[in-house]
């Protein structure tokens, strides 16, 4: 039948095993995106996302961060370019072929994006019920374990609207991690939070990365997150990657655009001379 999933060949399995040893988890190459024939929002984005590390993508408003996130998750089809996840280019894949790729990703949206008609428990159980054949008992055990990991077990039977923003974010993280993804993408995780709550979210992301060994991709304009927990930092500026470096190195950059951004963010940069 036409909807039957394609079986993985031995060659593909071998390639996947080899890819697992590659320190580069995702390769983004010449990614271009525009809308309805308008100006290009992404103008050839090229950079690497490192395996089991905290990769941060910074940039000002309108730099193309959100558009890039939508291409990375294949919520949209880019005009051209490639995104290789474990060596597999996800751009030409159709909805069915994307299923195993998407299972590698967990996504934490800016405001959680929990399903507001479901309890926190059902939200976290949702991916398990959709993609596994686990019994109700196994689902319950796994979900409660994740909720306890993120200290939201008490809210299990509440609706998202009945819990605080911080709890929603932790519940969203529990949902993103319940299928044990390899890559976690966070969209503006500290946006709209006060500084204390922002640092708690930073700690949570660092702890999650370390504990579950996931590759983290954090899209943010919060420079504190970069220097608190970042291991690789990429700056998106006017639809291109302006720099790809480490948080330590970025402070010594000669790139005027990066220096201006850092200064505007209140970061003291070393004298470029």
């Amino acid at each position: 039948m036409f909807w039957r999933k394609k079986e993985t060949t031995p060659e593909e399995q071998a390639a996947a095993a080899a890819a697992a040893d590659d320190p580069i988890h995702i390769r983004v190459r010449d990614l271009v995106k525009s809308y309805d024939g308008g100006p290009q929002i992404l103008k050839g984005v090229t950079f690497d996302i490192h395996r089991s590390r905290i990769n941060i993508i910074i940039g000002g408003s309108g730099a193309g961060k959100s558009v890039f996130t939508r291409q990375l998750l294949r919520l949209e089809q880019p005009d051209s370019g490639s995104i290789l996840v474990d060596g597999v280019d996800i751009i030409p894949l159709d909805e069915w072929a994307l299923v195993p790729i998407r299972k590698k990703f967990g996504m934490v949206f800016q405001f959680g994006a929990l399903f507001d008609s479901m309890t926190v428990f059902d939200n976290v159980a949702f991916p398990l019920r959709e993609h596994t054949k686990m019994s109700a008992k196994e689902v319950k055990e796994r979900v409660m374990q994740r909720l306890e990991d993120f200290r939201v077990a008490d809210a299990a039977h509440k609706l998202p609207g009945q819990i605080s923003g911080g709890m929603q974010k932790r519940s969203a993280l529990a949902r993103a991690l319940v299928l044990e993804p390899q890559i976690l993408v966070y969209d503006e995780p500290t946006s709209g939070l006060d500084p204390v709550s922002s640092r708690r979210v930073d700690e949570l992301m660092a702890e999650t990365s370390e504990r579950f060994g996931v590759t983290s991709v954090i899209i943010t304009h919060d420079m504190a997150t970069v220097f608190e927990i970042g291991q690789h930092v990429n700056m998106l500026y006017q639809g291109r990657i302006e720099t790809s470096t480490t948080p330590e190195e970025i402070l010594r950059t000669d790139n005027a655009v990066v220096r201006d951004f850092l200064k505007a963010s209140g970061v003291s940069v070393a004298d470029g001379s």
Binding site: V99, M107, F111, F115
Partner: protein, 280 residues
């Protein structure tokens, strides 16, 4: 100073050229946007049909939607059905009495309800109650990234959100129409017999004599088409929503207006096809 300020604020008068250009643009843009709407709707119908036959199947979601679109509409459909039947009975008996044909009221009420009033009114009631809520719910999901969340979890939003709603609309529409018809006939009977004094036996006989299975079938086919149309329009408007709370409001508004217009246009088209009289 003040005079100069007043002069600055005076609105500039558009030139004739500008006005003609605006009129010309709207004359061109309107038909183009209608064609575009029809095209995207056809694409959505195709996608919905494709995803409806693909596993996984989610009967639980279908039951939930049948409960929402059907069971929760029973009261409003029943209430409007009663009063539509009652007022139609009242007018017909009064009108027919002028030439001594009040006993024909049952036949006309029966035919009108079976073929037109029941499917159209019940679809309009479902639109106002369930279609608007559906558009609001899906639009809220769109603007709060819940639909993106579904996609990132490898759950196709068309299959998860639209397919169960459309199937439920196609099933619930005819059931609600049947209910509207039966309650409408009862309303007309009560008014005609107990208020206007016509003979109850003759009223029933006229209904049985003139309204056959084909008339009821005609209404049910229309109801199924309307059920599909109103759910597809509501879901599509929800899917296209953007721009926060205002966007949700716009989506709901468009869903209700477009569904109501579509129901009336489709009514004409389906009637023309069923009667084989041609459309124009």
């Amino acid at each position: 100073m003040a005079e100069a300020g007043a002069e600055d604020q005076e609105p500039s008068q558009p030139s004739w050229g500008e006005a003609l250009k605006t009129v010309g643009r709207s004359l061109v843009e309107r038909p183009v946007s209608v064609v575009s709407e029809i095209g995207t709707m056809a694409a959505l119908v195709y996608s919905t049909a494709r995803w409806a036959i693909r596993p996984p199947y989610r009967p639980r979601l279908l039951i939930d939607q049948l409960e929402f679109i059907g069971v929760q509409s029973i009261f409003i459909v029943g209430l409007t059905g009663f009063f539509v039947g009652a007022v139609f009975g009242l007018q017909l008996v009064d009108g027919f009495r002028q030439f001594g044909a009040e006993n024909q009221a049952g036949s006309v009420v029966g035919l009108a309800l079976a073929r037109e009033l029941a499917p159209v009114f019940s679809a309009l009631m479902i639109t106002s109650r369930a279609g608007s809520a559906m558009a609001t719910e899906i639009a809220s999901m769109r603007v709060t990234n819940q639909i993106d969340a579904l996609t990132t979890m490898s759950v196709n939003p068309i299959q998860y959100l639209i397919v169960p709603r459309v199937i439920a609309g196609v099933i619930a529409g005819p059931v609600m129409t049947l209910l509207f018809f039966l309650i409408g006939i009862s309303g007309a009977y009560l008014v005609g017999v107990y208020l206007m004094g016509i003979d109850g036996g003759i009223f029933i006989e006229r209904v049985k004599w003139f309204v056959d299975v084909g008339d009821v079938q005609q209404g049910l086919v229309k109801a199924a088409v309307f059920g599909a149309a109103l759910t597809l329009i509501a879901c599509r408007q929800g899917f296209l929503a953007s721009g926060g709370a205002a966007g949700v409001g716009r989506a709901t508004n468009r869903a209700v207006v477009q569904s109501a217009v579509a129901i009336l246009v489709l009514d004409y088209i389906v009637t023309g096809i069923i009667l084989g009289e041609g459309l124009f």
